[in-house]
Assembly symmetry: C2
Homo-oligomer: 426 residues x 2
C-alpha cells in the first residue's frame, strides 16, 4: 500500500551538487523546530514536499479519531452533540485564529473553501448594495474564479465579475463592492502584500476577502492588524487537518453584526433548538455555519491544530523562508543548464512556502522524482511545485530533493516518464 521508495543515498562520487550534504544535516541540528517532525507520521526516507497540497498526518490524530468514533459516537451516541460536538468548530477556529492574527471568536470552521467563498462574496455584495462589481485576481486558484462567476451568474444583471490581470489595485473603482485575492498564489507561490492591497481596497470603498489557503500555518498573517474584512482558508494543507478537512472563515468584528450569508442553514440560527419559524442569524461568525458539520473530519482537524500549540508563527515563517531559499541556492545551476524558469519570486518575503519551477517536461520530471520518493506535484501547464512545510520538512530533505532533481535532469532519466498518463494529485 505504501510508496515504493526508490530514493537511496547516493555514493559520494555520484553526488551531483557541490554543496556537502553534511552542511544541511548541520542546519537540522541547529533548527529550533527540528523536533516538531517527531509529531508527524512520515517515513524517514520519504522526501515530502507536497504539504501545500495535503499536509502530513500528525501522530495524535489516529487516537483522537478512534476516541471520537468508538466513544463519542459508538457509546455516547446522540448525547455527544451536547458535548463536545456542538462546540468543535469553535475549538478548531480558536486554534487557527492565533495563527492568522485574529481573535478566537472571529474564526469559524465550516464547509469547504468554495462554499465559504460563496458566503463571503455574497455578504460583501450585500454590504455594498450600491456597487455591482466583484473583482478577482485572474491568477487565483480556479475555484475562487468559478465560485465568483457562479454567484455573479445567479445574481444576473445586478452584478458583474471583473477579472484583474496583474495588479488588482489598478482595477479598483467606485463600482467595486468586494475584492477576492489569494494571499499566496497556488501556482507561483507569490505572496501578495496584504496590508497594502487591503488599504487600497478600503480607500476605494470596497471590502477585501483574502484566500489564505496557501499561507495559513506557514506565513505569519496579521488579519486584524491589516484591517482585513473577510478571509477563508484551507484546513488540509499547512494545517495538516486531513484530506478534505473543513475550511475556516474570518469576519472582521466590525462587520459581524451586519454581515449576512445567503446559505441560511439551521446551525447558523440564533437559537438552534428553538426550531423557530423564521431564520434569525446567530451573533458573530456562528451565523456562517450552515448545515451539520462533518464531525469526524472536524475532530481530526481540531487535533491536528494542537501541533501548533507552543509554536511561534515567526519561527515557522523563518524556517519556511530558509528552506525555500536553500533549495533555490542548490538548484540554481540547473536554471541555465536545463532551461528552467523560477516562477516564484526570488526574495523570500515575496513568496509563501513553495518554489515553482517551470520546465517543458515538468510533468515527466515530477513523475521521475516521485518514483525516487521525492514527492512534489505538477500543475498545468508546465509547473513543478515544491512545498516546504516547516513543521516536518528537514534541511537535509531540501538537499536530497535538490540532488534528486539535479540527477533526474542531468541524466535525462525523466524522459521515460513523458508518455505516462497524467497524474491527478492535487
Amino acid at each position: 500500500m505504501g510508496f515504493t521508495v526508490r530514493f537511496r543515498m547516493m555514493k559520494s562520487e555520484e553526488v551531483p551538487i557541490d554543496v556537502p550534504r553534511e552542511q544541511f544535516l548541520a542546519f537540522d541540528a541547529q533548527d529550533p523546530l527540528a523536533e516538531v517532525r517527531e509529531r508527524f507520521v512520515l517515513a524517514d526516507e520519504l522526501i515530502y514536499l507536497d504539504g501545500n497540497s495535503l499536509g502530513a498526518l500528525p501522530k495524535a490524530v489516529a487516537g483522537r479519531l478512534a476516541h471520537t468514533v468508538e466513544q463519542e459516537w459508538g457509546v455516547r451516541l446522540v448525547r455527544s452533540w451536547n458535548d463536545p460536538w456542538i462546540d468543535l468548530w469553535r475549538s478548531a477556529g480558536g486554534k487557527i485564529a492565533r495563527l492568522i492574527g485574529a481573535r478566537g471568536e472571529d474564526v469559524a470552521v465550516a464547509d469547504s473553501v468554495s462554499v465559504n467563498l460563496f458566503k463571503l462574496l455574497a455578504s460583501g455584495l450585500d454590504l455594498r448594495p450600491n456597487r455591482r462589481v466583484v473583482l478577482i485576481d485572474d491568477s487565483d486558484f480556479p475555484t475562487d474564479r468559478y465560485v465568483a462567476d457562479g454567484l455573479c451568474n445567479l445574481l444576473g444583471d445586478r452584478v458583474t465579475l471583473r477579472r484583474a490581470k496583474g495588479d488588482l489595485r489598478r482595477a479598483l473603482d467606485d463600482d467595486v463592492a468586494i475584492v477576492l485575492s489569494s494571499h499566496a498564489s497556488y501556482l507561483t507561490g507569490a505572496l501578495a502584500d496584504m496590508r497594502a492591497v487591503t488599504h487600497a481596497v478600503h480607500e476605494a470603498g470596497a471590502l477585501m476577502l483574502w484566500d489564505l489557503s496557501h499561507t495559513a500555518g506557514v506565513v505569519d498573517i496579521d488579519l486584524s492588524g491589516c484591517d482585513v474584512d473577510f478571509a477563508v482558508g484551507c484546513g488540509y494543507k499547512y494545517l495538516s487537518g486531513g484530506p478534505g478537512a473543513p475550511s475556516f472563515l474570518y469576519v472582521a468584528p466590525r462587520l459581524q453584526d451586519e454581515a449576512r450569508t445567503p446559505l441560511q442553514g439551521w446551525l447558523g440560527h440564533e437559537d438552534i433548538f428553538a426550531f423557530a419559524d423564521h431564520y434569525r442569524p446567530a451573533p458573530g461568525v456562528e451565523r456562517f455555519q450552515c448545515g451539520t458539520w462533518p464531525v469526524l473530519s472536524l475532530s481530526a482537524l481540531d487535533e491536528a491544530l494542537d501541533v501548533f500549540e507552543a509554536l511561534d508563527m515567526a519561527a515557522i515563517r523563518a524556517k519556511s523562508q530558509a528552506l525555500s531559499a536553500r533549495f533555490l541556492e542548490l538548484i540554481e545551476p540547473l536554471i541555465d543548464r536545463h532551461g528552467i524558469t523560477v516562477t516564484t519570486p526570488i526574495e523570500p518575503q515575496d513568496r509563501g512556502s513553495q518554489i515553482s519551477l517551470s520546465h517543458p517536461d515538468g510533468y515527466a520530471v515530477i513523475r521521475a522524482l516521485i518514483e525516487r520518493g521525492v514527492i512534489g506535484d505538477f500543475r498545468m501547464p508546465d509547473i513543478m511545485r515544491f512545498g516546504f512545510a516547516p513543521l516536518y520538512v528537514r534541511f537535509v530533505d531540501v538537499w536530497d530533493a535538490a540532488a534528486a532533481l539535479t540527477d533526474v535532469l542531468d541524466s535525462g532519466s525523466y524522459r521515460a516518464e513523458r508518455f505516462r498518463a497524467r497524474t491527478k494529485v492535487t
Copy 2:
C-alpha cells in the same frame, strides 16, 4: 464517558403493561433482520430510539477509518487522491442509490443537506426561468425553510417564497417553479405521498424536490418510478454514516444535462486538473460537487452503507412498520390516562419510522427516560420522538421502552426533571 444505564429489568410484579415481554422476545426470534444488529456497536442494555437523529455506529467503521487515516493519509499521502479518494463520493452514492430507487450514477454524495438544498432549489429556478415562486411545506424541518428563504432573499424581487400550510397541492399555480417538501416530517413522522404529490407538481408545470432525510434507509423509496426531479437526504440518520456525515443528492437523468448549480466549485468541473480558465460543469451529477469533500467523514459513510448490502428495502420497511405499530399498541392505554396526543399517523403506510407523542411535560418525560437508558428525543414545543431503526432496534426494545414510558408517566417520576436545563440533542 458512557451512559449511566439505569434501566433494569423490572420484576414481574412491577411490570406496568399487560402484554408479556416474552411475546416480544419471540418476535425477535422470528425477525429475519435480527442478526443485522450484530453489525452495530450497541450496549445490550441500551434502548436506542434515536437513530432518526444519529444512527448507531456500524462495527466496521472504526477499522475502515483507521485504515483511511494511517495508510491512505499517513503513508500514501497525496497519492491517495488518485485512488481511492477521488471516487469515494461515487462509491457511497451508488450504495445509496439502490435504497432510494435510483441508478447509481444519478446520486452524488456532497456537502450538507442545507447546502444541497440551496444548489437544487437554485437549479429548479434556473430551469423554470418564467416562474417566480419557490413553494415549500411550512411544516418542513427549519433548515429547508431557512435555505429557501435565504435563496429567495438573495435573488430579490425575482423570486418569492410561498409557504403552504396543509396540502401543498392546493398552493400550486402557474407561478411555481419548484416545490420542496420533506418525504417524512421530522416532527410528526407523517409520510407524504411521493407519487401523487410529484405528479400534481408536474401537472402544474413545476419541479419537485424531496428531502429524504427521514426516510432514506428506512422507507422503500422509488425516485425513478415516481418520476422525481430532485432529492436530497441525510447521511447520519438511518444510513448510520456518522455525526455530520455528508449528504446525498439526486437529479433525474432527464435533467442532468441542463441542471446548473450556482455553487461552482473546482471539483464539479468537467476536467478538474485542467485548472481551466472558465467553469464548465462536469457531466451528470458530478457537477453538483463543489469544494473538496471531507474524506474521513465520507469514508465512514461509505463503510457504513455496506451494512445495507444484502438487505432488501421492503423487508426493512416491513420491520420498521411492525416496530412502530407494536409500540403504539403498547402505549395506547397511556393516551387517555395521561393526556397524550399521538401526532404521528396511525396507519403504518402513512408514516416514516418514528412515533411522535405530544405531552405538556414531554421534555421532562424524555429526560426521565434517558436517565433509565431509553434514548428518545424532544422537539419543541412538546413532542417526544421515538425512532425505530429496524437494522438494530429489537422488538424487545419496543417493549422495554413502552414499559419504561408507562412507568415514568404512571409514577410521576418525570416531574423531578421538569426544571432541568433544556437538552440540545438533535
